[in-house]
């Protein structure tokens, strides 16, 4: 399972194999030189003691200088190149992931919580970055160096080497074990912090309720509880950390004790040198150094691998839209037909039951009905977001199941109740990145009556809108989405009317805008306004998944059916 997940990402790493090779070389040379320096120093010291002649140590000194320089240069190369490669790899993965998700079937977006999708693309890819740098490169470098250092110790003086190394494995085990405990306790700290944040968010958002109903003491006591949990667990994790570091320290002191005592006795007996003792002391500090956060590095590695698995599973459990680039690329005129269409989102709960709708090019129709009757589903089917379970959806007689989606959608236009505004300029939000001549955009705005409003904005069309359009009003957002649809000039327009109350001026513009949008193109309106309905060619009344009535406004009133009841229910 894990192996498969990792396999998926290998091509991304291979793309930068040259850089990774350079990183590897940097790592090897840096570690080699690090391990070499104490050995060279040993020779300098022993030579000094033996000969007291500076000329004899000159060569060694030169070697040390070279080693020191090589060490810093290649270490910097390892770090910089390694991180650069890592960042590039992550960016590639993130962009591919983003694009792939954008190509998912629409059902994935109702199936998966948005938080999960965001986490996969952002946090999980970020964790993978740690895999490369903190994990593979750093851990490898540490391990490689540790082996080299131990190798040198054994090479220089096997007996002494083994003796001073005795406490090391114990320190490693304690380090891993305690590090693990710190991590577990720290999770409780994070938990308390999260709860604190959620509580604060709630209280601050609903502060008026808190104050009006005298809840101050209750919410304060609740906060104190989380604060206490934070304090107690943080203290525990800190103390455990202190114990961890002191355990490593005591092991290193014991190693030094053994070094001095045993090394001293061996030297006196002629089986060791002072240079050995001094260089061993360097090696020991290098060996014990990384132990402090050994456990951290392992858990970073673990997190990275589990993120890889999560991304892999995420990609496996969602599929791309079919016929996005393949399929029938026909010329769209604007005739639309739903023939005996059945549809269910889940098994055995049909939302549409044999719906027949026929719209000729240039006609406008309205669909009315209670919420949940299936109106939005019809819009979804027309765009090919879903396929009918039975029956056909045809544009100009062509079955949408085999039509090329990226092709025919370009001839369709959508205006939704909840307008989608993204972070970008007003112009971007209207053109969606397409290159329209500025004049055309301005004309569209003038036609809709919003040109003056846009001109009055701080930067006109280049005014930055914040995400979700929070810095403009609901009505203004609606009008921008009208401009968006109008400039793209669709052959078939689907408009899902907004129901929220807006001020009367904007309301007028929206009514007018709706009429302008509908002119000269096939329009399907999911209607809430009487003013819109009165102007369409035909009204379809949808009830519990079936078209129960069909006709013009006057015809339906005369029939005294469901439509008439809608209309009548306003009078008490």
């Amino acid at each position: 399972m894990r192996r498969e997940s990792i396999k998926r990402f290998i091509p991304y790493f291979l793309k930068y194999k040259l850089l990774l090779l350079v990183t590897l070389i940097g790592m090897i040379i840096a570690s080699l030189t690090s391990a070499l320096i104490p050995y060279l120093i040993k020779n300098v010291i022993d030579t000094l003691i033996a000969t007291k002649n500076f000329a004899n140590i000159k060569n060694f000194l030169i070697l040390v200088a070279i080693a020191v320089l090589l060490n810093i240069v290649f270490k910097l190369i390892q770090i910089y190149v390694g991180n650069y490669a890592g960042q590039r790899i992550m960016q590639d993965i993130r962009l591919d992931l983003f694009y792939t998700v954008s190509r998912f079937k629409i059902e994935s977006f109702s199936k998966e919580p948005s938080g999960k999708i965001i986490t996969r693309i952002t946090n999980d890819v970020e964790n993978m970055n740690d895999l490369l740098n903190a994990g593979l490169v750093s851990l490898f470098a540490d391990l490689f160096f540790i082996l080299l250092a131990i190798g040198f110790l054994i090479y220089i003086n096997p007996k002494l080497g083994l003796i001073v190394l005795l406490p090391l494995p114990i320190a490693v085990i304690f380090s891993l074990y305690l590090g693990n405990r710190v991590e577990k306790i720290y999770e409780k700290v994070r938990d308390a912090l999260t709860k604190m944040n959620i509580h604060m968010q709630e209280v601050l958002t609903g502060i008026h309720v808190v104050q009006i109903f005298d809840m101050e003491k209750i919410v304060i006591d609740k906060f104190k509880k989380f604060s206490r949990d934070f304090r107690d667990n943080f203290y525990k994790s800190q103390v455990t950390n202190v114990v961890l570091r002191q355990t490593v320290n005591i092991s290193s002191y014991i190693s030094i004790f053994l070094l001095v005592l045993v090394g001293g006795i061996l030297t006196i007996k002629g089986m060791g040198t002072i240079g050995t003792i001094i260089s061993f002391s360097s090696y020991l500090s290098y060996l014990y150094g990384p132990l402090g956060d050994l456990s951290d590095k392992f858990s970073i590695l673990q997190n990275a691998v589990s993120s890889m698995v999560k991304i892999d599973e995420f990609l496996k459990s969602n599929s791309l839209e079919e016929n996005y680039e393949d399929g029938n690329k026909f010329e769209v005129q604007g005739n639309l037909a739903l023939k005996d269409v059945y549809f269910a989102y889940e098994e055995n709960s049909d939302v549409l039951k044999g719906v027949n709708i026929d719209v000729k090019k240039g006609e406008s129709i309205a669909i009315v009905g209670f919420t949940g009757a299936g109106k939005t589903t019809i819009a979804n089917l027309i765009f090919g977001f879903y396929e009918p379970t039975k029956g056909d959806v045809l544009i100009d007689g062509f079955d949408l199941r085999i039509a090329c989606k990226s092709h025919f959608r370009k001839y369709l236009g959508m205006v939704l109740q909840n307008v989608f505004i993204f972070k970008g300029t007003v112009l971007d939000n209207i053109t969606l990145g397409d290159e329209f001549p500025l004049e055309d955009v301005e004309n569209v705005c003038k036609t809709l009556g919003i040109y003056d409003y846009i001109e009055r904005l701080p930067n006109g069309l280049n005014t930055e809108l914040s995400t979700e359009g929070k810095n403009i009003s609901l009505g203004e957002r609606q009008l921008i989405s009208f401009a968006r649809a109008l400039i793209h000039n669709p052959r078939i327009l689907i408009l899902d009317e907004a129901t929220s109350s807006i001020d009367s001026h904007t309301e007028e513009l929206i009514e007018k805008g709706t009429r302008i949008l509908m002119e000269g193109r096939t329009s399907i309106i999911i209607a809430h306004r009487l003013s819109t309905i009165k102007h369409v060619n035909r009204i379809y009344v949808l009830n519990k998944g079936r078209i129960v009535e069909e006709g013009t406004h006057e015809e339906l009133l005369q029939r005294k059916g469901l439509y008439y009841e809608f209309y009548k229910s306003q009078y008490k």
Partner: protein, 569 residues
């Protein structure tokens, strides 16, 4: 800095203990290399007894160091965390008593970060920064003294590379925080783009804009990459450069130290000790830089914290138990001092009235209510509670007169039962069920699996807007306060439910003298009002009973007709 001074005063004894232990440990630590030095000198002289003696000293001092260090580290952290706990609580307590005017100056996220991030900065300084300062002096100075005692010239030569550690650490310490902040912001920007993808996916697919959005995403990614590379240069290069400087110092040691050894000025034991002292000095050298950076951050955070806790709580004023009449006389109000939201309002609310308030969006209805509830401050001489100017009445007192149902039907993450009981925590189960029935939500609640024990998600997300509002109404009813204010509280319920609520309000409460103020843009809801005020762009343009207003055939009438035709399609 007041808070810090108080803290040090209180923890004075503990800090004396910590500092004493720390000084002891540092001095012991500085002696260790001396024992190594003497041990090596013993080895040179083939003195096994001397060797054993110094080896034993090493063990004893090591054990002492480890134990004492554990002690003072734990003591220090306990003290700091106690302070942190109190600080967090004080900040939160201040929030809870904020008035609307104060709250609006801040963003919620910013306030929350004062409790989490700002206390963290103070905490980090008090733990690490404090230790670092002591280490710099005791460890650094003592080490230096011992080194000089062995050989001045060698000390100076070896210190040169080590001096570079100071600016390195300072540079690192000051820049790293800003860089992390910037990277976190960019990471958040990336998340925003992904959220946009998810929320706008229908539009993105409908207009075939998958590639365009990926390009937008790429833009943020490039910036993110650039900042991360800056971080690598700062963070990733730090260790290697530190190592390089240590190596350089070691090189100088064997070069110059070797010369001195040959001349017979220093013994090999001293050189061995110097190797260890170089290691010992690295931390104090860096600590200077770090602690400066930590200090800067801590003081900035501390002033942000003190900004909050120094805001005084308002408690003074007259206390009223009941009110027979509220009068608003020529009330003018503006938020920013330029544009008037309310342009001279006159109205009277008598005990037992059912007042309707309506008008166009942005006309000032909610502002008016907030003024009556003293959530925002009214100008003197405009609002009177039984001839008492509202500015003379204590906020507490006003709060207790009103039961308020806001527009958004805010609920806490808790059971429905507890949410209703917020109105009166001492209410019995029967009383809760009773108000739920009056609010016409009892049947809905009983249809849930857990009935009243159903837990409502953050801010009541799992319920529909109408259900939330009705529960908020039940909560307000349970509080049994003299005035009930409904701020467009029936906007999300359908026509049938609305008439149910209005009917049961009429039946059960209006007879007991409850005064109701109802804001609604749906005019049919105001049919039970005995006085309706129509507020348009800050002025009352019409007033009267429902029938009066319809008969006038003015603004009210026309809006009413329009709504009848438009509803329910």
């Amino acid at each position: 800095m007041k808070t810090l001074k108080e803290y040090f005063k209180r923890e004075f004894l503990r800090y004396i203990a910590v500092v004493s232990l720390l000084v002891t440990v540092d001095i012991a630590q500085v002696y260790l290399p001396q024992f190594t030095r003497f041990a090596i000198d013993s080895i040179s002289k083939r003195n096994i007894n001397g060797l054993i003696k110094y080896a034993i000293y090493i063990v004893i001092f090591s054990i002492g160091i480890v134990v004492l260090r554990f002690l003072y580290q734990s003591l220090l952290r306990a003290a700091v965390l106690r302070f942190d706990y109190e600080l967090k609580n004080r900040i939160f307590e201040s929030f809870v008593f904020f008035k609307r005017k104060t709250l609006e100056k801040f963003e919620i996220g910013d306030l929350m970060s004062r409790v989490t991030n700002d206390t963290q900065a103070v905490r980090m300084f008090l733990i690490m920064g404090f230790l670092a300062i002591i280490d710099i002096f005791v460890l650094g100075l003592t080490t230096f003294v011992f080194m000089v005692k062995m050989n001045l010239k060698l000390t100076l030569a070896v210190s040169v590379p080590l001096l570079f550690l100071f600016p390195l650490a300072l540079n690192f310490g000051t820049k790293i925080h800003k860089l992390y902040r910037r990277i976190n912001m960019l990471f958040a920007d990336m998340s925003v783009r992904v959220r946009e993808l998810v929320q706008g996916i229908r539009v993105i697919k409908a207009f075939v804009k998958e590639r365009y959005f990926t390009q937008l995403f790429r833009g943020v990614n490039e910036e993110y990459l650039k900042e991360n590379l800056k971080l690598v240069k700062l963070d990733g290069f730090f260790d290697p450069i530190v190592n390089f400087l240590i190596n350089l110092a070691n090189f100088v040691l064997i070069f110059y130290g070797g010369l001195l050894y040959i001349k017979g000025v220093v013994g090999m034991g001293s050189i061995a000790a110097f190797f260890q002292y170089i290691e010992t000095l690295t931390w104090p050298m860096m600590a200077v830089g770090f602690s400066i950076a930590l200090y800067q951050r801590a003081t900035a955070s501390l002033s942000r914290i003190e900004e909050i806790i120094s805001i005084p709580k308002e408690t003074q004023g007259i206390v009223l138990d009941t009110v027979d009449r509220i009068e608003v006389k020529n009330l003018r109000f503006s938020y920013d001092g330029n544009i008037d939201i309310l342009k001279g309002i006159n109205l009277t609310i008598n005990k037992g009235d059912v007042i309707g308030l309506t008008g166009n969006p942005g006309s000032g209805k909610t502002t008016l209510i907030n003024l009556l509830l003293k959530i925002i401050d009214a100008p003197k001489g405009s609002v009177f509670f039984d001839s008492n100017d509202i500015n003379d009445i204590a906020f507490e007192s006003i709060k207790n007169l009103f039961a308020f149902v806001p527009q958004e039907g805010f609920l806490f993450s808790d059971t429905i039962l507890n949410n209703i009981k917020v109105g009166n925590p001492n209410a019995t189960r029967e009383e809760v069920e009773y108000v739920a029935k009056v609010a016409c939500v009892y049947d809905d609640i009983m249809s849930f699996k857990d009935k009243f024990e159903t837990v409502v998600g953050e801010q009541g997300i799992t319920l529909s807007g109408g259900e939330r509002q009705r529960i908020a109404i039940a909560r307000a009813l349970l509080a049994r306060r003299p005035f009930l204010v409904l701020d467009d509280a029936l906007a999300s319920v359908d026509f049938k439910t609305e008439s149910c609520i209005i009917k049961s309000l009429e039946e059960h409460f209006l007879k007991s003298g409850l005064t109701v103020i109802m804001i609604s843009e749906r005019l049919s809801s105001l049919s039970i009002a005995n006085k309706i005020y129509v507020l348009v762009d800050g002025t009352i343009i019409e007033e009267g009973t429902f029938n009066d207003l319809v008969a006038k055939e003015g603004y009210f009438y026309h809006l009413y007709r329009k709504q009848l035709l438009e509803e329910n399609l």
